[in-house]
Symmetry: C2
Subunit: 305 residues, 2 copies
């Protein structure tokens, strides 16, 4: 197993082709190089082996006994390698691993991913919903959907939409507590997770002074999704990204009374290593994703704005 004593593998590849064709010229042809290069490599191998592999007959070459011994085994070995790499390529191209924020996964990706599968039946998608920022060199991840500024070195980041947010609540809440006309009216209601910095940012953006976060600052529930559930249940007002709750809004489960605010520069991004931007499955996913996003803007964002 260890410490194999192999001749330069390049010479082996050339030998195999020459043995198959019984012609240096045709082997060179197949390998896309010149006859001189084949001659050179064969000679190299023969010297390394200490034995001639071809008899140079007048207008053709012929294998020596040693050459005849070697040819089938090398062909087989190269075939095996080719098969293995072809399988690996298929395997690598057939599974797309997506790291995605849980909220994004639940509200945006999950309802749409089926269409990607329809379009690319040969690509299996493995979705990994996690709040941890994926590390492409450490985790087996092909693409990631994450929020931030998009300034990740070595990554190509396609901006999706801003990380914006706005208060939302259930219509049931209005029934109970009366109508809400101005942003400051919200202060009378129960804010779900008032420690979320988004509340402060939003009130500031709306010009409502005097909001002081209750609870621990930075004590978010950690997942927008849970806050949304609470709001839908009529428990209070949650600050949410409306793009994620189009269905709930359309179904009358949530109301968005005011415009959104956004953290400066923060976007959702579709990201992947720049070096892999032309890998077919990645390109396919990105193309589909951006396309999906564009058509979504036409049909859904119009009523929301």
């Amino acid at each position: 197993m260890r410490h194999r004593d192999l001749p330069p593998l390049a010479t082996i590849r050339v030998f195999e082709a020459a043995a198959r064709h019984l012609s240096f010229t045709r082997a060179a042809d197949e390998l896309g190089m010149t006859q001189a290069a084949v001659s050179y490599q064969i000679k190299l191998l023969e010297e390394r082996l200490g034995a001639p592999l071809f008899l140079r007959r007048t207008r053709a070459v012929e294998l020596t006994a040693t050459g005849r011994l070697l040819a089938p085994a090398t062909s087989e070995a190269l075939d095996q390698l080719a098969a293995a790499f072809s399988a690996a390529k298929a395997d690598a191209g057939g599974v797309l691993s997506v790291s995605v924020l849980p909220t994004f996964a639940a509200h945006w990706l999950a309802p749409r991913i089926g269409r990607f599968q329809m379009k690319h039946p040969d690509i299996a998608v493995r979705t990994r919903a996690t709040r941890d920022v994926a590390n492409f060199s450490r985790d087996d991840v092909d693409v990631a959907i994450r929020s931030g500024l998009g300034d990740w070195p070595g990554l190509e980041a396609n901006p999706l939409f801003p990380v914006d947010f706005t208060p939302m609540y259930s219509p049931k809440l209005v029934e109970r507590y009366g109508s809400i006309e101005r942003p400051c009216d919200l202060l009378r209601l129960l804010l779900i997770d008032p420690g979320d910095r988004w509340w402060k940012l939003w009130f500031d953006a709306m010009g409502v002074p005097g909001f002081e976060p209750g609870g621990h600052p930075d004590a978010r529930m950690g997942d927008q999704h849970l806050e949304a559930r609470a709001a839908i249940g009529g428990y209070g007002v949650a600050i949410l990204t409306p793009a994620f709750y189009r269905e709930e809004i359309a179904a009358g489960l949530l109301v968005q009374p005011f415009p959104t605010a956004s953290e400066a520069g923060q976007f959702y991004f579709l990201a992947y290593p720049t070096t892999r931007r032309n890998v077919p499955k990645i390109r396919a996913f990105r193309d589909w994703f951006l396309d999906e996003l564009r058509s979504g803007e036409e049909t859904c964002l119009a009523p929301a704005s």
Copy 2:
């Protein structure tokens, strides 16, 4: 079979070692290169494949799913190659093909070759006795014994002994035709193959004038051996190389009455391609051969001179 699409084979070799060790550093060690080179080759292969093969964990590397798929197959293929080349090397080293002049084969090599086999039981000798000058690049020949000047480009030629010759006959001949004192006495007898140039050369060297070759000039029987048979049979006088007939002389079957002459510069040589002078079986044969020659000079050439 044709047109395989393989990554650079060097990267495959590096990958296999790295996968086996699960460490770039140790793989570099095994392959006799630096860790940086391994890293470079792996990256090359990953880019070529469009998929990562290793996960870079903090203090070790780990195979990805694709890598795990690939590793066993590449190991197997490389093992197969190693086995094939090892077998080829054994095969090439185990058979020594000797092209040799028929006379030399019969009188010098045949009686001694057994001792070579005793000394090197792992080397099989295939003797090809032919008058045709072996062409090393065209015929499957490792070493050749031939006569000439030794000025063959690309060949290493070990001089053995001069191509010398002298008249020889059976003692029976003297019984019938009377004693032979001087070279010119031979002219009374039947010269076997008088067209052989050696007769002319020998008489010239002995200072016997007036010898005119009978028969067609250059109409040699072609083989000293046949002439020797005729001489032993008492048919006439043959011009022979005495070194080849030591046994016959010793046994009293042939008599050598006069000194030898030789063609200027002509020697018997043991020859092989210079590039192959260090191939073990060739080196073994040459060493044995020259040794045999040297010890032969001590024991046998002494009485002849």
